[in-house]
Symmetry: C2
Subunit: 333 residues, 2 copies
DNA sequence: TCCGGCAATGTTAACGATCACAACGGAGCT
DNA sequence: AGCTCCGTTGTGATCGTTAACATTGCCGGA
């Protein structure tokens, strides 16, 4: 930095001012300094800056290391968004989402003096870990606990599930079954509530809930059961992979989709359009989640305030493909 | 740090020595210092350390932002491995893998003074970007250019493809068709070579190559073609998603898998076991790739040397499921 | 006894930026 | 003319750590 200053014939402080785009620098010296910077190929040392300002240009993201489609998509979307603002993204993945693991990951990030923290915390156990966070770091939670998190961005699971269920009902089905995600996930709980709400609104019987774990395997296992119940003509699954497993189970039992059973999934994974048949599903807008998250985080970082109680909800969208059809006349009841 | 020193009744330098596990510190003072650290909840400032040592405890990873299964899996696997060694991981994703984008991402990481760099660079265009890297940062390339990269970890695509092709041949098929990935990917090229080699070794006709782009859609489109060719009884696809699209195309044309056509995929995505039928595929060991990468990188970081010309190849494994069967007697020729 | 050597500890000076404050000079007002 | 104000620039001090070197005290050998 001294070299740049010398070459430009100014003081190091003026160089710093140019770097930080201070207003009170004359156009002339600004140009001189920029020229010197370019000539020497100088780049400011982030560490030195972090040392004196007490904050870095890094955002920490805590997520689970599984390659679940939702969290993974959010991570990349967020990373891309953050890049545009000049912030770097530090990932700290945790193997399981228990309180201890999350606390550890958060601590690691705090160690690194991150400017802000994004926690993708879809399960209840993440709540306490964040509540005990003494430090006043800007923090935004994605898919976190609606009861606890002060700043939260979330996909509107209830609306998505309701749309999926209504879509099946509208096709003429008596009722709709549901294979849910793990019960401790908020996403899962929200989808269950939306499903129930839609059935209730339609004044229709609510079938027993089947529970999965997001995996195709759990869809397959629950499908073994559903395939044996002739009553079942419509199923809403908590995600597309469960739907894939279900598809296979129905296949094996000779029940055709959508002729015998209609299915709606959730997530719209890229392959969903190539299931057999192409899957009607609900698409959450992960890019919008990422953008909203970044926006809220930046507001906190810039204002110096932490934990503004803001909530942002992103509405998902039903993608209609070929896995839904009216029930066969007189098939049930 | 001064506070800790005062409380322990030593100098700040001694505290630093304890922190860095220097040898010449008496057991007694070490304990005193540790106690003081614990009591005050002190944690060293990474930025200050980075400033004086000139290096951080951060590893930068450059990858593409698409959610392709392979790269995404490697990223999480690597992140987890790095965590164990106390290193943080900074992701810099790029939208496309052209030279410019990669250079930019690398520059961003260099700005952050990363201790080492991992580039997941599966396409040829990444080569020049890395070659022009003036700085002497420890660097490991994953799936990079075998001709250029000095330190490289890679899945043995050729071996995997050869195993897949042989498996189909062993089932009794006359020959094996192939739908490849994008032609500028090394992974893709390797799988094509392995496929060709296996056919050649068997002294069997090599059918024309079909080209896809990793997506299920490309599998479907190529499948439209293959489904019309009665000769086709065995197909090896460059990944599982292409296989899924192919499966649907065959389905639509009334060709059954594996009765009429046998398929082998690549990647073993978690859902592959629940395709209809469950997909026989080749599983690369992403965790092993991550471990090897970290190991090579750490060697470079610790020794201070950069770019040791080491190459590590990870052998994949064939996972046999239900998408392969012998051809029907007298089906062809 | 004296001295070299070594282990344990302390002292001072960096590292490279920003911040707080001071200094300068020209414009505009009384 | 003299004063204030403000835009522009420069001058230390400072952030929290490690590196380099200095110091102390004890041990063992000549």
């Amino acid at each position: 930095m001294m070299d740049v200053a010398r070459l430009a014939g100014v003081s190091h402080q003026t160089v710093s001012r140019v770097l930080n785009e201070h207003k009170n620098v004359s156009e002339q010296t600004r140009l001189k300094v920029r020229a010197a910077i370019a000539e020497l190929g100088y780049r400011p040392d982030r560490a030195a800056r972090a040392l004196v300002t007490g904050t870095s240009q890094v955002i920490g993201v805590v997520t689970q290391n599984s390659s679940l489609y939702g969290p993974a998509s959010m991570l990349t979307a967020f990373e891309e968004a953050a890049q545009a603002t000049g912030f770097a993204v530090n990932v700290g993945s945790v193997r399981s989402l228990d309180e201890r693991s999350i606390s550890d990951a958060v601590e690691r990030h705090l160690d690194q003096r991150v400017a802000g923290l994004v926690v993708i915390a879809p399960v209840a156990s993440a709540g306490p870990a964040l509540a005990n966070l003494h430090a006043d770091v800007p923090l935004v939670t994605i898919d976190g606990d609606p009861e606890r998190s002060s700043t939260l961005v979330t996909v509107d699971q209830v609306a998505g599930a309701r749309a999926a269920t209504r879509h099946l009902l509208a096709a003429g089905h008596q009722t709709v079954w549901h294979i849910s995600g793990p019960s401790d996930w908020f996403d899962s709980a929200g989808r269950v509530r939306g499903w129930e709400a839609a059935l209730q609104e339609a004044g229709v019987e609510i079938p027993p809930l089947l529970t999965g774990d997001w995996s195709a395997g759990s869809g397959y296992r629950n499908g073994q059961l559903l395939a044996r119940l002739p009553d079942v003509t419509a199923v809403f699954t908590a995600n597309d992979h469960i739907a894939l497993g279900l598809l296979r189970a129905l296949n094996e039992h000779g029940r055709r989709v959508p002729a015998d059973v209609s299915i709606v999934g959730f997530d719209d994974v890229p392959e969903a359009a190539y299931f057999s048949p192409p899957l009607t599903t609900v698409r959450p807008d992960f890019a919008a989640v990422a953008t909203a998250t970044l926006e809220l985080l930046m507001t906190q970082i810039e204002s110096g305030t932490s934990r503004i109680g803001t909530r942002r909800t992103i509405a998902p969208m039903l993608v209609d493909r070929d896995s839904v059809a009216p029930p066969r006349a007189g098939a049930t009841h």
